[in-house]
């Protein structure tokens, strides 16, 4: 059954109900089938873990699969808002699906909390008081790596990304902070799985480092082929290309790669330790960035629900904006455009007890805000 009444997972009746007994209905639209299903499953699992831990029985979560199709996501969103009358929608993985769903949903007065996608339009001119991004703005991780590249004196970086908006945004974000010269800038085909052509260009360019943004299977393919090409130029990437959900498929080729992320499993705070242990106990695998974003989103909702009724939209919105919850990222707050202001770290891939994972080696940004916040009239 796909409809999971999270309340049923709760622990005990008598002990769990907080003072407020206002029922809260959350709709989660995420990708549970097809090639991108791993990401949605992680978001869902992280989210439901937090709800379960809270023991809050007044929260009902309905989960549905969007199959990574924008049209289907819109249809499910309409159903959840108009027919199921959910108070909050969340869960979407992909920016193009978020662009299709979010403006309509927040326009109808429903809250939307983003668990991953952070397209620039929603952070800037099209920002909305009912839209909160609990993950990161799409450019952030690339900006962090561009910034970090300066500190370790790379002067000739080769950059590549797929030829679509998120790809051009990524490289723009990197270049926004990177001060060195570019050894090359290449845009690949979306969904491309063979990078021999690009790797040959990297070899010929004389680059001293490579930065790539190739989400999902594209990144896995690139890393495997790069490691076999006989080039020793160091590679850098955004955190999600080296996170727990893909590291297994990349294999040892990933060891030593530096990547940027707003979270890491080894972040030293109590909430994070509790979370990593609980996730492993519940699902028998290490949590990924996606799972973490789902977990933090659920905890943000829980913190707001403890303060205000969701029926009082203004009070609930204010409670969300306060963001007084134990984020596993340590500190977390929202900027004027309801996007996070947070630290962004640089991690390195290591092998620990036979499993590939990451450890933090540097902090690239402290309290970093996205570049679009100034375009948001809020």
């Amino acid at each position: 059954m796909k409809r999971i009444a999270a309340a049923a997972l709760g622990l005990g009746l008598a002990f769990s109900s907080p003072a407020m007994a206002e029922p809260l209905k959350i709709g989660m639209i995420t990708t549970l089938s097809g090639g991108g299903a791993g990401l949605g499953i992680d978001i869902r699992d992280g989210f439901l873990l937090a709800i379960k831990q809270s023991g809050n029985k007044d929260i009902k979560v309905i989960v549905e699969d969007d199959a990574q199709k924008p049209e289907l996501a819109v249809q499910i969103a309409d159903k959840m808002v108009q027919s199921e009358k959910v108070d909050i929608l969340t869960g979407i993985v992909w920016s193009n699906l978020a662009m299709a769903v979010v403006p309509g949903v927040v326009g109808q007065g429903t809250f939307y909390l983003s668990t991953n996608a952070g397209p620039s339009a929603l952070a800037g001119a099209k920002c909305n008081p009912n839209y909160f991004n609990v993950a990161y703005q799409n450019d952030n991780l690339h900006e962090a790596m561009g910034n970090y590249t300066n500190t370790i004196n790379y002067k000739k970086t080769f950059i590549l990304a797929p030829n679509y908006p998120a790809g051009t945004d990524a490289l723009t974000g990197f270049k926004r902070f990177y001060k060195g010269a570019l050894a090359g800038e290449v845009y690949t085909k979306v969904g491309q799985t063979d990078y021999a052509t690009e790797i040959a260009q990297i070899r010929a360019s004389g680059a001293d480092s490579v930065y790539f943004f190739l989400p999902g299977g594209m990144g896995i393919a690139f890393m495997k082929q790069y490691s076999q090409s006989g080039i020793s130029t160091p590679v850098m990437g955004p955190g999600f290309s080296f996170d727990q959900d893909v590291l297994g498929a990349v294999g040892d080729a990933a060891i030593g790669v530096k990547n940027s992320s707003h979270w890491s499993k080894d972040l030293d705070n109590a909430a994070n330790k509790k979370y990593v242990a609980a996730f492993k106990a519940e699902y028998n695998r290490l949590p990924s960035l996606y799972a973490t974003q789902g977990y933090d989103t659920a905890n943000l909702i829980l913190s707001a629900a403890a303060k205000a009724s969701v029926k009082d939209k203004d009070a609930f919105r204010a409670a969300l904006k306060e963001a007084k919850f134990d984020s596993v990222r340590g500190k977390f707050k929202f900027g004027n455009n309801n996007h996070p202001i947070q630290d962004i770290y640089v991690r390195e891939v290591i092998k620990e007890d036979g499993v590939l994972t990451n450890k933090i080696i540097a902090t690239s940004f402290t309290d970093h805000q996205d570049a679009y916040a100034k375009d948001c009239k809020m």
Binding site: S33, G35, N163, Y187, K189, I220, K224, Q228, S229, A249
Partner: protein
């Protein structure tokens, strides 16, 4: 631009083309003998990759995985032929398109059900790891050279099979006149199953070989499937020779387009724009080539029974 880089890119094009040939050969054989259009061919490629990754992870041997990929894809192909495709020989292409479209959904979701939602890991065997130096100073990945070699061996093997063996004779007879060979006492039903399984095994082999280079995941077969269709349409449906030449043409044109177009455009515009515009045109290039070829030769370059 150095000659080493150029040589490397030509090899890349060749390797991509050889991989497409393994896919296209099965498709074109199945169409040639049975007249069936099989959209689920990409799913057989995926089955091969998953079988290889699973067996290699379990036994630690890529080579056992490779054997498993051939066996699994051939078995999947035979089962599909006996349960579904066999009922479609007398139908029009429309029914075949729909039935095999349905098979894609079944294979993709079934594979995800069995293997889970996260991509699998498959590594290159130790013997073929690393890069070798080519004349001219270029470094080239050894495994890619091995793929080129494997593809050429398969091409020669197929040629011998079709021109020199009894089975090949029946295949050729089946291509020219299905009713006639039935009347001559050849067991058409088992011939069809064998040809279908053979085509499936080739797709599975391609999936396993490529799986070590990229990510083994659900849906990996569909982009390759469409390219394989482009190949057989350019080459002439039913022609193995056409499939080989079409595959290498598509492989080289696509690779060179991706490599040269952005550089060419820097002559007219600033680098960043040239990079995106060049990539955009490169992604459409093989379809443009295909349209040109079909505008001149509507039945492809090497049409069978034109």
């Amino acid at each position: 631009m150095s000659s080493a880089l150029l040589i490397e890119q030509v090899l890349n094009g060749l390797q991509f083309g050889v991989m497409l040939f393994l896919m296209a050969a099965g498709l074109t054989l199945i169409f040639g003998v049975m007249g069936v259009i099989n959209l689920a061919h990409g799913s057989l490629y995926m089955v091969g990759a998953f079988a290889c990754a699973a067996v290699a992870a379990y036994t630690g041997s890529f080579w056992l995985g490779l054997v498993a990929s051939l066996a699994a894809a051939a078995a999947a192909g035979a089962i599909v032929e006996v349960t579904v495709i066999r009922r479609l020989y007398s139908r029009d292409h429309l029914d075949q398109v729909l039935a095999t479209f349905a098979l894609i959904l079944i294979f993709s979701e079934g594979t995800r059900w069995v293997f889970g939602s996260f991509p699998l890991y498959l590594d290159i065997p130790p013997v073929l790891q690393g890069a070798v130096s080519l004349p001219g100073g270029a470094q080239y990945q050894l495994y890619r050279l091995a793929i080129i070699a494997a593809g050429l061996v398969v091409a020669i093997g197929l040629y011998l099979l079709i021109s020199r063996t009894r089975l090949g004779m029946r295949i050729r007879a089946g291509e020219s006149d299905r009713e006639m060979i039935g009347a001559l006492g050849v067991d058409i039903a088992s011939l069809n199953t064998i040809v279908f399984a053979l085509g499936a095994a080739l797709a599975g082999l391609a999936g396993a070989l490529v799986g070590a280079l990229q990510s083994v995941q659900v849906g990996m077969g569909e982009p390759v499937l469409i390219l394989a269709f482009v190949v057989i349409v350019i080459g002439g449906i039913g022609s193995i020779k056409g499939a080989l030449i079409g595959a290498i043409l598509v492989g080289v044109v696509d690779t060179m387009g991706r490599f040269l177009l952005p550089q060419l455009l820097t002559l007219f515009m600033e680098p960043s724009q040239a990079a995106t515009a060049g990539a955009a045109i490169a992604s459409m290039l093989i379809y443009i080539v295909m349209a040109f070829i079909l505008a001149v030769r509507p039945k492809g370059l090497f049409a069978v029974n034109a």
